[in-house]
């Protein structure tokens, strides 16, 4: 498997990353090296093997559906670089 510059640009769009023409070549080479390494997975036949998403095959632990926490709005909003007393502020979305 290998990836070309066009596909790499599409992946960058999906990942919301800005890949410049300058970095594209080195990133392309480096991604292709990793993909060559990953292709080692093709050495084994995995048909019939159940995928393992997680080391704990236990059931999800659920809490009782009761309110245990308080509102932390005033602790959390100041972490943003742009917020007023109640909202996160972002650049204008609708003209």
């Amino acid at each position: 498997m290998s990836i070309n510059r066009k596909e790499l640009k599409e992946i960058a769009d999906l990942a919301k990353l800005n890949v410049t023409d300058v970095t594209l070549d080195s990133l392309n080479d480096s991604m292709n090296e990793i993909m060559d390494m990953i292709d080692a997975m093709n050495q084994v036949d995995v048909s019939g093997v159940a995928p393992m998403a997680h080391p704990m095959d236990a059931k999800q632990v659920l809490r009782a559906d009761t309110v245990t926490d308080t509102n932390h709005q005033q602790d959390l909003l100041p972490l943003s670089s742009a917020a007023d007393d109640e909202h996160y502020l972002v650049p204008k979305v609708i003209e």
């Binding site: 596909e7 999906l14 990133l27 990793i34 080692a40 995995v46 393992m52």
Partner: protein
């Protein structure tokens, strides 16, 4: 003092040979003195509050709080209330969490005192600690060499005794490899043993918090205090609580220790091979019964890991959009561009590469061929371990095929990834594992890895403790820091 065990420190504090403030100031002074040359710490807490000291002094009267008054550093991805938590990234350079990670709160409740936050590879991605946005960490044994990563700051800080103990995290080897490179003991517990609440996520099905210290006994004592079920982490195991019992005498006689000959025979570095064989021989002399085991799919672990970990990373790191916290670009005029610029400016090159790789592996058309396949290989590796542990109690293996390499020596990412070949299998299976110092090679530290059954922390730490009763390697320190 700096070569004292935690138990010895606890005795000295209780018999009033030293006060908590005096003990902390010894380490605080060392942290200040050695940080410029090692780069191990990102922030040093020079303002331990009187309240914290009083709390620690009070905890001393509680016999169950053996750790009271003992200073420590937290890897800078554990959220510390009111203290900057950068994760080694420009993305979080100014992030001051409004809460403590569960691990931080647990150790605080024991009366431990946080004197510093430790440097790390950005978002815990790296094996050399060269990928920190705040500069590399240098290995106290040789400042021209890397300390390993991603918990390189924690490892270097303990190796130079800037702190007696540090928290760390391990996703594919980030505790064991730096512990090996820096000549200290580092343990990664079973997945689910230690809460991940407040630990900045890299790959959620692999990340696990652990401990670095000079000995297995110190690691056991601190790890015990970090375990327990946490309702705030849905992957915390209901029976996670655990208490370390240092084995007395030779009760480990007859313990079956698995050896994977292919791994040891395959070591290219003869000095590391000899050191590994000598350590295994010591275990045998101490009464361990050596049994040959096989992990037939382990050679595929690195390939599977570099699909699974980046996939989880790309998903976890999508939360950094510049809106709620973290870096926000000043240059964007619209929302889309704000996301893109904030992420591109905030994340370093290695992190961006892994996000791209993960986004690709999860994208339509590749999900089955890569992500699902990697998960199936993960199952095969886990089954290999289950079979092996029907025959043995612990597996002894190398940690790394190399000693600490020179800063800048590995510009090619893939060769660094492949060096994690011995640590990744246990991570994929979620098993407890550690690295302990054995005879050095080329004048540099070497580690031996011990891997246990799920929840077998007592077995691996017990065996390491017994080894450390018969050997001195764990007491060795770089001369410049004595």
């Amino acid at each position: 003092m700096i070569q004292s065990s935690i138990r010895a420190m606890a005795d000295m504090l209780r018999s009033k040979q030293i006060s908590v403030a005096e003990l902390c100031s010894i380490y605080f002074d060392r942290a200040q003195a050695f940080n410029e040359q090692t780069g191990a710490l990102l922030s040093i807490n020079d303002d331990i509050s009187p309240q914290e000291l009083i709390q620690a002094e009070q905890a001393l009267s509680n016999d169950s709080h053996l750790l009271a008054g003992v200073p420590l550093a937290h890897k800078d991805l554990f959220c510390t209330q009111g203290v900057t938590t950068t994760c080694g990234s420009n993305m979080l350079a100014n992030f001051v969490p409004p809460y403590d990670a569960t691990v931080v709160a647990q150790l605080k409740n024991q009366g431990m005192i946080t004197v510093a936050k430790a440097n790390m590879d950005e978002f815990a991605m790296g094996s050399s600690n060269e990928h920190s946005a705040f500069g590399p960490v240098k290995n106290p044994w040789d400042l021209s060499r890397v300390p390993g990563g991603s918990s390189g700051g924690s490892a270097a800080a303990v190796a130079a005794r800037m702190v007696p103990v540090a928290t760390a995290t391990d996703t594919g080897g980030s505790i064991r490899q730096p512990a090996a490179f820096c000549g200290i003991t580092g343990v990664k517990p079973s997945y689910g043993r230690v809460s991940r609440y407040g630990m900045v996520a890299f790959a959620s099905s692999l990340d696990q918090g652990g401990v670095m210290a000079s000995s297995a006994d110190d690691c056991g004592l601190v790890l015990s205090a970090m375990t327990g079920h946490d309702a705030m982490d849905s992957t915390s195991h209901p029976d996670a609580a655990w208490q370390w019992q240092a084995p007395q005498g030779d009760e480990l006689k007859g313990m079956k220790v698995g050896i994977i000959s292919d791994w040891i025979d395959g070591l290219q570095d003869e000095a590391i091979k000899n050191s590994t064989l000598e350590a295994i021989e010591t275990l045998k002399t101490q009464g361990a019964e050596l049994v040959e085991v096989d992990l037939p799919h382990a050679h595929l672990a690195v390939a599977a890991y570099y699909v699974i970990a980046p996939a989880e990373c790309s998903s976890n790191l999508s939360r950094f959009d510049g809106v709620r916290y973290g870096h926000r670009s000043a240059s964007a005029v619209d929302l889309e561009q704000m996301y893109i610029n904030s992420r591109s400016e905030g994340f370093g090159e290695e992190v961006q590469k892994r996000i791209m790789l993960g986004t690709w592996a999860l994208s339509s058309g590749y999900y089955d061929a890569y992500y699902l396949k990697a998960q199936k290989i993960r199952r095969l590796i886990s089954q290999d371990f289950q079979k092996a542990f029907q025959q043995v109690d612990v597996i002894a293996a190398p940690v790394s095929p190399e000693v600490a390499f020179k800063l800048g020596e590995k510009s090619d990412g893939v060769s660094m990834y492949q060096a994690d070949v011995f640590t990744i299998p246990a991570s994929l299976a979620g098993l407890p594992c550690l690295s302990m110092p054995i005879a050095p090679a080329h004048g540099l530290p070497v580690g031996l890895q011990l891997i246990g059954r799920y929840f077998g922390e007592q077995d691996i730490l017990g065996l390491a403790h017994q080894f450390q009763q018969a050997t001195q390697w764990h007491q060795a320190m770089p001369e410049a820091y004595l």
